[in-house]
């Protein structure tokens, strides 16, 4: 029976990948290169698309910020998958779970702040408006 004591060496781990770890075998440089190139092309495409969306008259004005936000989130996803190699594979479960938790906190902080502050702004009338109302 081969029971191991102590930490495994780097070469031995087979069921977990560190975040950022390229899941290809190191001998296959071409595959790694192609993946990075694909990431670069997709990210550039999305960047160009957001710059285009900011200028085009084709998109309904008030929808442009939403379009840009969606493109930004998509590009962040591309970066995570192709550059940071965060995937949904079982050997990446811990990394993806940590990311999901981080995403949750980011959403709470950003959406919560905007929600609270918009209401605060809405309920705080300026002095001029108060004078108007008292008349």
């Amino acid at each position: 029976m081969t029971t191991q004591a102590g930490p495994r060496s780097d070469a031995e781990h087979v069921l977990d990948l560190a975040p950022g770890e390229n899941p290809i075998e190191p001998r296959r440089v071409r595959a790694g290169l192609l993946a990075y190139l694909l990431g670069l092309v997709l990210a550039s495409g999305l960047t160009v698309a957001s710059f285009w969306a900011a200028h085009t008259p084709l998109i309904y004005g008030p929808a442009v910020p939403i379009a840009i936000s969606v493109l930004a989130v998509a590009q962040m996803g591309i970066h995570l998958v192709f550059f940071l190699h965060i995937t949904t594979a079982p050997d990446n479960t811990n990394n993806a779970l940590a990311l999901a938790f981080g995403f949750l906190i980011v959403c709470i902080v950003v959406l919560g702040s905007l929600w609270v502050m918009t209401h605060l702004d809405h309920n705080n009338h300026s002095m001029g408006e108060v004078m108007q109302m008292q008349r």
Partner: protein, 229 residues
Amino acid sequence: MSARDVVPVAHLRQSDPYKPGHGPGGAGGHVYATGHGEGGPASPRVVVGYGFWIFLLSDFIMFSAFFASYAVLSEQTAGGPSARELFDLHDTALQTAFLLASSFACGLASLAVDQRSQPWTQIALFITGLLGLGFLLLEIREFADFVGRGAGPSRSAFLSAFFTLVGCHGVHVTAGLLWLGTMMAQFLAKGFRQNIGHRFLCFSLFWHALDIIWVGLFSLVYLVGSLPP
């Protein structure tokens, strides 16, 4: 350098992670099962990388707080210049291109490190640093330009939030460049030792993460800020 120091490339995977009952298995095979204790603790590479990943996520959360304060304050110009009047999207496009190319070059560097190729590692890291430096210089020029036009961080709540958010990213890039320099020196002086490899894994995570933050910055600050009212 002893033979023990030069490990074979760390992340060779023999098994398909999607295979049911994944793991090498087979006759005489020892199944390492995460959480089952039998395989022992995870390898240092996984532990180091995972710890750094947690740090990066906390960094994202810090940036999200700055993003939130910017989003709340972006219209509070106190009679000063607005985002629309200040931003030059040509510079932003150039900065974006620099940082994306830098991130790509960093990816190539990690391929070179996997191959234990000293010259390619140094070349790729040098290009990574050069592009990062280009980004930083453009940002410094932009900040100096704003301050010169009387739009410093003390001018309005909008500008305070802007300089805090974008400046914090700039500080991260600066720190990343210093780290990059030390990584190049370490590869040169110490070779592809296991612990140097761990440090480089953290660095590449850091550098790619900075690009992710920049995606949020150029989209939500610069592009949305330049939209007509």
